[in-house]
């Protein structure tokens, strides 16, 4: 295929035919295009790139084969490579390596101008012009880059100039006073409107601190807000504020303060816009005063206090703590009743003055607010940052002041106070939480007696809160049927010597979604707290009556009686008799089938409502029992005074009978004698205690008639009654084994 050349060694001699040259060219073009594509980011379609490369190859072929050497085409190829953006870091190297292998076959040159010299000359020119073009290109790009930088800067500045011009226009023409200040408050420019509001000329404003404009009472607040502004998320705040005019007068204004930032968002300045609302203010003021202040003491009232509290807790500066204290006066009602309401008012005014004096020793004026929130209740709001006030000192100062009698109209009167204190980080608590914490702490304090004080305790708070929630939701729960009945069978030995269930004491149980299962005693306590124990008791009486009615239909005269134990409050309720009568009428039961038990303690006062109720109930033929009986020896006298059907012995009485070895002979004798006295007075002695059933034999020896077992849910009550009765019948010798049953 190849045609040998004269003397010339190497492949070149073989490439003389046109066909072969065409094939060589095609191969080189394809290969070079591939190298260029791989080494640069040129993204021409393959055909287009190969056309371009074909042109390069032709020009290089011209240079290789020109006689004499004409190098210009090689120079052009170098420059065109750059123009075609073949500028990858390997593009030139890989191209030259490729061409170095391919070009020699073209031969070229003659004599001294050998093929290899010709190749070196051609590729050398190509490389040199490539480098030159690259340098020009870089310089050109750098020039553009510089222009771009300058342009970017100019664009930025032009934007600034435009917005500055707009700002100037607004700044000077607006009716709102405006001043621009440094972050530290040093004022710079201000406008004409500002001069009208404050009386300072723009020149006089420059260099002064914005703080100089603040009215003394707003100073602390405003200083905080200005200092916090650069760190706040919003970059602005708005509020009403009093400013001091050049002539010393107060200007009532509406402030809108916002942060100016540089293009990177860094705060640089603040703009304060001031709207003069003095006229409006004076009009509103009178009205506002009356709605915000308590007329008796001139102290802020609850509304004002709450809104101040909101303001203090809204975006407080870091590290701010608040102390909320309730001071609730005790003994005012007695003073009002025994002396005169005017005396009570005087006491309140005097105490207000004393409290103001005490508190101002612990807090600076701007950080302090004392309010009369209701009747005899004062609230203190104190704010502090670094040093915590001495709380114990504060309480004892208050108590010390109150311990001094107040002399009025010839009387020296004295009040005490329950004091609750809540000390919290301002950013960790909401207004509602803080008020609830103070409320519950005060309630806890009041539970423990008079003249007590207490500090908010988070753990205690949760308990108190749950308790408070439970007690306030209890009436609703009663209404919506969350309450259930439980019964406690009362077992006695029948005439034939066998156990029998003579009665059932009914109790409430609350299966609360939120608070879980709440037992009878706890239900009563919660109900007493919110004063719904009466409703709970009435519900019990009615439900107990319905159950008793059902038994009555089944067992007739052998039916057990139903017993409901009342709270002290309910025992003294005026409607009690009516309620019991209504239930008896509705159910057709006799007064013996539905019995009520009154706490023995409720009858201590012979003239009380409870005593009346018991007397009337007894007259109506309704069996009345007493419970918690025997806590005081005087209880026995009650049996003499009222027709009492039976008593539920206090635990202090029956416990020593169950475990005599743990009690002295004296106590045993006293208890034994006590039960005997009860029996002699004609009342049934009932022991009510789940663990008492184990001692049933012993208790019976001492004369106890009836033993109560554990509570059983209503659904299982009939079966339980049945089991207890029959267990006794089967095993008359071991009555104690029965009542434990399934309890």
């Amino acid at each position: 295929m190849s045609e040998p050349a004269h003397d010339d060694p190497g492949p070149s001699a073989a490439w003389r035919s046109g066909e072969e040259l065409t094939a060589w060219r095609a191969d080189l073009v394809r290969e070079w295009a591939r190298v260029i594509a791989a080494s640069s980011s040129v993204s021409r379609p393959r055909g287009e790139l190969e056309d371009l490369v074909g042109g390069f190859v032709d020009r290089l072929t011209d240079a290789m084969t020109s006689q004499p050497l004409h190098i210009q085409p090689a120079r052009d190829v170098g420059a065109d490579l750059v123009a075609a953006e073949v500028v990858g870091e390997r593009s030139l190297r890989d191209s030259i390596a490729l061409l170095g292998r391919w070009l020699p076959v073209l031969g070229g040159g003659s004599g001294a101008d050998s093929v290899s010299q010709r190749v070196v000359a051609v590729l050398g020119e190509l490389a040199a012009s490539y480098a030159e073009a690259m340098r020009d290109r870089t310089v050109e790009i750098q020039e553009n880059l510089k222009l771009a930088l300058v342009k970017a800067k100019e664009d930025t500045e032009r934007t600034l100039r435009v917005s500055q011009a707009r700002f100037e226009e607004v700044f000077n023409s607006v009716a709102v006073g405006m001043v621009i200040s440094e972050l530290d408050g040093t004022m710079g420019r201000s406008n004409e409107a500002m001069t009208e509001i404050l009386g300072y000329s723009p020149q006089e404003m420059v260099g002064r601190s914005v703080h100089e404009l603040f009215y003394i009472e707003d100073l602390a607040d405003l200083t905080y807000q200005y200092a916090a502004l650069p760190h706040s998320g919003t970059g602005r705040f708005r509020r009403q504020a009093r400013l001091v005019r050049k002539d010393g007068e107060t200007a009532w204004t509406y402030l809108s303060v916002s942060l100016l930032t540089d293009p990177d968002g860094e705060p640089t300045h603040m703009v304060t816009a001031v709207e003069d609302v003095s006229d409006l203010y004076l009009l509103k003021e009178r009205f506002k005063y009356q709605t915000l202040y308590d007329t008796l003491t001139d102290l802020p009232n609850r509304q004002f206090f709450t809104s101040r509290l909101e303001a203090v807790l809204e975006r407080p500066p870091v590290g701010t703590r608040v102390l909320l204290s309730y001071v609730d006066l005790e003994g005012l009602a007695a003073i009002n009743t025994a002396l005169h309401r005017d005396v009570g008012d005087y006491v309140i005014r005097t105490v207000a003055g004393k409290l103001r004096t005490v508190f101002s020793e612990f807090f600076d004026e701007p950080d302090l607010m004392l309010a009369r929130v209701e009747g005899g209740m004062f609230a203190l709001l104190g704010r502090y940052r670094d040093s915590a006030p001495d709380l114990v000192g504060l309480v004892s100062s208050v108590q010390g002041e109150l311990a001094e009698p107040i002399y009025v109209g010839g009387h020296g009167v004295m009040v005490t106070a329950g004091i609750a204190l809540v000390d919290r980080a301002a950013n960790e608590v909401t207004v509602e939480e803080l008020l609830a914490a103070a409320d519950l702490t005060l309630r806890r304090v009041k539970r423990s007696g008079k003249a007590q004080w207490g500090l908010y305790d988070p753990q205690q708070h949760i308990q108190d809160l749950n308790r408070a929630r439970a007690s306030v939701t209890l009436p609703g729960a009663l209404e919506s049927g969350e309450f259930d009945l439980a019964g406690q069978p009362l077992v006695a030995r029948g005439p034939d010597g066998e156990n029998e269930v003579v009665g059932v004491r009914f109790a409430a149980s609350w299966d609360s979604l939120e608070h879980g299962s709440v037992g009878h005693d706890e239900c009563l306590r919660l109900a007493e707290e919110v004063g719904t124990d009466r409703q709970l008791g009435e519900w019990l009486i009615r439900r107990a009556g319905e159950e008793a009615q059902r038994w009555h239909r089944t067992f007739a005269s052998a039916a057990p009686f139903a017993l409901v134990c009342l709270t002290q409050g309910h025992a003294a309720d005026q409607d009690l008799v009516a309620v019991v009568r209504r239930v008896l009428t509705d159910t057709g039961l006799s007064g013996d089938a539905l019995r009520v038990s009154v706490p023995a303690g409720a009858l201590r006062d012979e003239l009380g409502e409870a005593a009346d109720n018991v007397a009337v109930l007894a007259e109506l033929g309704i069996s009345v029992l007493l419970h918690d009986f025997g806590d005081t020896a005087g209880n026995i006298a009650l049996l003499d005074r009222y027709p009492i059907r039976g008593v539920l012995l206090a635990e202090s009485v029956w416990r020593p009978l169950c475990s005599p070895q743990e009690h002295s002979a004296l106590v045993r004798r006293a208890c034994t004698g006590f039960v005997k006295l009860v029996r002699e007075a004609g009342a049934q002695a009932i022991v009510d205690g789940a663990d008492a059933v184990a001692h049933v034999d012993r208790l019976r020896e001492f004369g106890v008639d009836v033993i109560a077992g554990g509570f059983t849910p209503l659904a299982r009550l009939d079966a339980e009654i049945d089991a207890l009765t029959r267990a006794g019948r089967r095993q008359p010798a071991e009555p104690g084994g029965g009542p434990t049953g399934s309890a």
């Binding site: 295009a33 591939r34 594509a37 791989a38 640069s40 980011s41 040129v42 993204s43 021409r44 379609p45 393959r46 790139l49 953006e85 500028v87 990858g88 870091e89 290109r137 870089t138 790009i141 750098q142 553009n144 880059l145 222009l147 771009a148 930088l149 342009k151 970017a152 800067k153 664009d155 930025t156 600034l160 500055q164 621009i180 710079g188 420019r189 100016l260 540089d262 293009p263 990177d264 640089t268 300045h269």
Partner: protein, 283 residues
Amino acid sequence: METWPTRLPKGVDINQPSAARVYDYYLGGACNFAADRDLARRAAEAVPWVRDLARANRSFLGRVVRFMVESGIRQFLDIGSGVPTLGNVHEIAQSVDPSCRVVYVDNEPVAVAHSELLLEGNELATVVQGDLRDPDGVLGDARTTALLDFDEPIGLLMVALLHFLRDDEDPAGIIERYRRRLAPGSFFALSHGTADVFPERMGELVEFYRSSSNPVTLRGKAEVERLFTGFDLVEPGLVWTAQWRPEFPENVGEHPERCAVYAGVGVKAAGAVASSPAESRTT
């Protein structure tokens, strides 16, 4: 007046490396500063073939634009266009059809100024200084609306861009806001760095970029595919950059994954329903 800032915005700070200028350096450009070159060199120590990576990506852009023009697209929105390096979208598109319109978007003032210089006199291409994360700002810019007709299909390009968005910036949500504005038949192209391969080296790369104006979040293949939600991927799907419709298949080599960048193009389906009943019958 002394109360006015005189400092330049962040993007003009030539002492902080910028991803766009580092990219330019990789491609053999000269629009870069010492800080950019320094970052580029350090990155090359972690991933020695990082220039190939940049090149593969740029060449993908070229192929994509041509593919789109051949598919009938005549208007382009190139977001994150960066420093006008080599083979810019309008050059490629207008070389095929001079009537093609291109809007470049970048948030870097220098890149924008540079693009403005480059585009002077070209009525059919413009640049908007805007932020990818602000679709309303980008799409509502007067220059965008003057050049692009949103009733006609558009080629939306986010090449080597989305890995500069953090997850909490919600890339998928941002894309969706652009997608909603596109007419059916529009194309969406992206390329996205990954640590699915060479996790350690790519991790180092991420570290280098942490100091720049543009920190990097690499994503796995499935995550990148999710960015095409609402688009149908065209052949060959989401692949390594070099594998996407290469002009020189022989240059792809045995290790296309070396570039560590996924690339793909999706089309917004003509109908409202993504998969038509006809399609499901054929499968």
